[in-house]
Symmetry: C2
Subunit: 189 residues, 2 copies
DNA sequence: GTAAACATGTAACCGGTTACATGATTAC
DNA sequence: GTAATCATGTAACCGGTTACATGTTTAC
């Protein structure tokens, strides 16, 4: 289960459930997210499995924190998972599914409007990712940070590929002879 | 719900649950998939909602087929959904999540091995997509086929972006000064 | 005072997968 | 005979989301 391994990995630096929730809302949300209501029970499960150990630490602001840290057992499980290689699993990209049936939108203008909206959103996302990326000095990164940086680069490349597709698709739509469905077999010259 | 709209769209050409299952296992599986055990109950639900209508047709090989076809109501719901624009939803790409924590794999060689395996799989996928793509004559396509073709192009671009990332990441890993953790503070000259 | 951030949880629901059950037809 | 393909479903489970419940501290 992906979330379990992710939590073990993140808990190599001691973290509370709340901390981890913030990580999923920030850096990781590009490819994996988790709600706090899922994180808390999962942490307990991992503690029972002894992949994590926990202690309670008073907080200076707010209630006491339950801080988790990965165990040797947990880290072994994690590295065994990674050693199995890339975890391919069925992907779901709703937008592409929409494109697949986009002819039902009503015509070339509707298709173009849809894709133009997609392009605009992706442009914003690409700019945001670029801004983060450009501020990173690769040479300064720790091993952990360097791998996080690699995943950011992957996210950025995918967003830019989708953006490039939008432009291509808009061109292809424009170039497509408009089915101005002539009532008669052919428009008489 | 994505699956519901997809089924309505696909049933613009009359199809049985079995037929639809085949579509999800073939063309659509690049971004959305569904098991027959999910398709059948969903079709019944859509029939009750009158987005689909059904009739039973004897099959020449095997049991009788239940053939579904979208209704006007269903198609209206579909086009309203598409008119709302791109359906952004949390994405999950397990491989990228693995990269995010790949420093736990054991070192630069382990990371490189992981990424090399990914590159090899993606190379195969890219070749398969390219082979399909290259055989398509865009001018010959109907509107529906053209949009399916666009989604194929999107899938291809994403796969190729990931592939390009693999090469970049392997280079970045190789270029990274190996933390050959010297026992002494610095190798004495 | 009150809103925001800190902090931890439970309960109900839902979309989706895996496993199971049934049976006809065709090709070997 | 038997395996593969055609064909339709049900049941149990599971990962994940939404909504709910509770309480503290800080900044305005």
């Amino acid at each position: 289960m992906v979330l379990e391994y992710l939590l073990v990995a993140l808990c190599r630096t001691p973290s509370s459930g709340y901390d981890l929730g913030a990580v999923f809302k920030a850096a990781l949300r590009l490819f994996w997210s988790a709600e706090l209501s899922q994180v808390y029970p999962t942490l307990k499960r991992l503690e029972r499995r002894r992949w994590l150990k926990a202690r309670t630490v008073p907080s200076d602001r707010g209630p006491a924190r339950r801080v988790y840290e990965s165990t040797e057992r947990g880290r072994e499980a994690l590295s065994a998972w990674l050693a199995q290689g890339p975890a391919f699993r069925e992907e779901r990209y709703a937008v592409a599914a929409q494109v697949f049936v986009l002819d039902a939108a009503g015509g070339p203008e509707a298709s173009a409007a849809f894709i133009a909206r997609l392009r605009d959103s992706l442009t914003d996302r690409a700019a945001a990712l670029a801004a983060v990326d450009d501020q990173i000095k690769v040479a300064d990164l720790t091993d952990a940070e360097f791998h996080q940086y690699l995943s950011l680069r992957l996210g950025r490349r995918v967003v830019e590929a989708r953006l490039a597709w939008c432009r291509e698709a808009l061109e292809a739509l424009a170039a497509r002879p408009s089915k101005a469905k002539p009532k008669r077999p052919t428009g008489r010259r």
